[in-house]
């Protein structure tokens, strides 16, 4: 399938962060229409459900359904938290959305808040996003000046404050409840669910948490209509997704494609296959938490369910291409180091398990492993299931098992006997 650009439509224009230029290309038209036509908030939520917009932060939960969980007449204030923590290794799409089209995100935030009855939105941005912060803050200031955010927007009586909250370097704060604790000024420890944030979220108030890409898609749903948007994708996944390709691809970068495009097409037709005429060893399809695939396993539609059926996950849609020169035990070591480093330490199985896997991986990569180490890793892996507060440990276990099972020979070659 050819590229189909919705959220990345204006990435080619350098002046898109300027509100006048963005508006000349249609920015805020849907937001203005919502206000001038006084579209009922419930209708917007219905439209987003019809569009089959799924959460783009990794879990794929339907956005409209999530918004529907928020109580309509809550005596407490409600909040939106836009998840701009983008920490999943391999993923770089939200940075682009923030830097290249901040007004699209702000328009999506405005419409979302109107639909759910929210007057304060936080953009939780990872601390290392210095440039995105500058660009988005500037965009917020411009939008306020134009009367598109702030008090009594366009005379509608609707108020909306948008606040950027910078994190401070902790991958776990991308997990939505850790994000809430971090927003509230604490350490980023995930919370037990239930209660879900839609009922008890930020500051104990009902809260919607959505990824940057999810929210950036909202204006397009209003522009096209939910039905048209849904038609682009597959039966369950509406619209497009921004896929990122990194590693040894001939043309690394972002490609916006209809949901359901095959992974093989993404790698070969769009990203140009492997660079320098080398052979392909493997692909990590959706960020480092997703199980690795061998070259003959790539013919899978990029949609949430089909990827699960294939034993992996769509994740954040960030594919890493590994050519034939790559050492899988080395990649395994780097990957497990990450999870061992980023475990928040709250649950013993995750804290100990990730460190254990990393130590074993390091030993193997340095040539000191034994075949029994591989069995140890396979034994540890199921111990994360259902024993921890959040899925971080499981996010290491599944890809660890896949690497060991699919590349056992390569691991064994590194061992002495």
């Amino acid at each position: 399938m050819p590229e189909l650009k919705l959220v990345s439509k204006n990435f080619e224009y350098d002046d898109q962060p300027d509100i006048k230029s963005a508006m000349s290309r249609g920015a805020y038209q849907q937001w203005k229409r919502v206000l001038s036509e006084k579209i009922p908030p419930e209708d917007i939520i219905e439209e987003v459900k019809t569009a089959k917009l799924r959460g783009q932060g990794g879990a794929g939960f339907p956005a409209g359904v999530k918004w529907g969980f928020v109580p309509k007449d809550s005596p407490k204030p409600k909040y939106l938290c836009v998840n701009a923590d983008e920490g999943e290794p391999g993923t770089f799409k939200d940075r682009a959305l923030l830097e290249k089209d901040p007004h699209q995100l702000l328009e999506g935030i405005a419409i979302t808040c109107y639909a759910v009855g929210i007057h304060t939105a936080f953009i939780y941005m990872r601390g290392e996003f210095y440039e995105p912060q500058r660009i988005v803050q500037d965009a917020i200031d411009q939008a306020k000046k134009e009367g598109l955010l702030g008090e009594n927007i366009s005379g509608s009586g609707f108020n909306l404050e948008v606040i950027i909250h910078m994190g401070a370097g902790a991958y776990i704060c991308g997990e939505e409840t850790a994000l809430l604790n971090s927003l509230e000024g604490g350490k980023g420890w995930p919370r037990l669910k239930p209660p879900f944030p839609a009922l008890v979220g930020a500051f104990n108030c009902p809260t919607v948490i959505n990824n940057v890409e999810t929210i950036s898609g909202v204006p397009h749903i209003l522009r096209m209509g939910g039905e048209e948007f849904a038609k682009i994708g597959t039966e369950k996944d509406g619209g497009t997704k921004l896929f990122g390709v990194s590693g040894h691809a001939a043309k690394p970068g972002l490609y916006e494609l209809p949901m359901g495009t095959s992974l093989k097409e993404l790698i070969y037709d769009h990203a140009g296959g492997v660079r320098d005429g080398k052979g392909l060893k493997a692909v990590i399809p959706g960020g480092s938490s997703t199980p690795i695939l061998k070259p003959d396993e790539l013919d899978i539609p990029l949609e949430f369910e089909a990827m699960m059926d294939a034993g992996t996950m769509l994740g954040s849609g960030a594919a890493v291409v590994l050519d034939e020169t790559v050492s899988i035990p080395q990649v395994f070591m780097v990957m497990s180091r990450f999870y061992a480093h980023e475990s928040c330490g709250q649950c013993t199985p995750c804290r100990e398990g990730c460190t254990w896997v990393y130590k074993t991986a390091k030993k193997i990569a340095e040539g000191n492993g034994q075949p029994s180490d591989l069995d140890l890793i396979l034994d540890i892996a199921p111990m994360f299931n259902g024993t921890t507060v959040c899925p971080l440990g499981a996010a290491l276990a599944a890809p660890a098992v896949a690497m060991v099972e699919k590349f056992r020979d390569e691991f064994l070659k590194l061992m002495k006997n």
Binding site: G87, G90, I163, L183, P252, H341
Partner: protein, 171 residues
């Protein structure tokens, strides 16, 4: 004991009023304090606690959880080299080795003159342009040994680079 400048105190005050609870201003206030003090050590934690009217223990609990708050001094130029998968397979280790050799320090160390420090960091979300690193708040991508030399030279024009062996020169 150190104190925060009046303007930083005012910014901290404004932040505490902006959020639904004053505690929520903790991360941004710690960022402000780090900007002013260069690090968040015990004394900086005390100052933040006093300014925010929060117990020092709570401030400490938060500040020690996050990797971006430095508890030891870092260099004027703090090199944060991505060590995650995409950058690694594009040569991040070679880049790190080159930096270490050029500066004569190991990762997580600072040069004696206090100008440079090096740290390994996890993915910084520009994986299609690796190897990548941040120098303070500036992102550098597509790193090569030559680019590293350029960045070091630009930061410290006096620095002699040619007396040290590096991978880049050996080839």
């Amino acid at each position: 004991m150190r104190t925060l400048s009046d303007s930083t105190r005012q910014q901290a005050q404004a932040l505490m009023e902006m959020y639904p609870t004053k505690e929520a201003a903790m991360l941004p206030v710690l960022h402000l304090a780090q900007k002013e003090f260069g690090l968040i050590d015990d004394e900086a934690e005390q100052v933040v606690a006093e300014v925010m009217g929060i117990s020092p223990v709570s401030v400490r609990e938060t500040s020690r959880f996050y990797f971006m708050y430095h508890h030891h001094p870092v260099g004027k130029y703090h090199l944060q080299v991505c060590q995650n998968i995409s950058c690694t397979i594009m040569g991040a280790e070679t880049i790190l080795d080159h930096i270490k050799r050029r500066l004569g320090i190991e990762a997580e160390e600072r040069t004696e003159d206090g100008l440079f420090s090096v740290e390994r960091v996890e993915c910084i979300a520009c994986c299609d342009r690796g190897p990548a690193m941040l120098v303070n708040d500036k992102l550098h991508t597509g790193l090569t040994p030559d680019k590293i030399d350029g960045i070091i030279k630009e930061s410290d024009p006096e620095r002699k680079l040619d007396h040290m062996q590096s991978e880049g020169n050996k080839e």
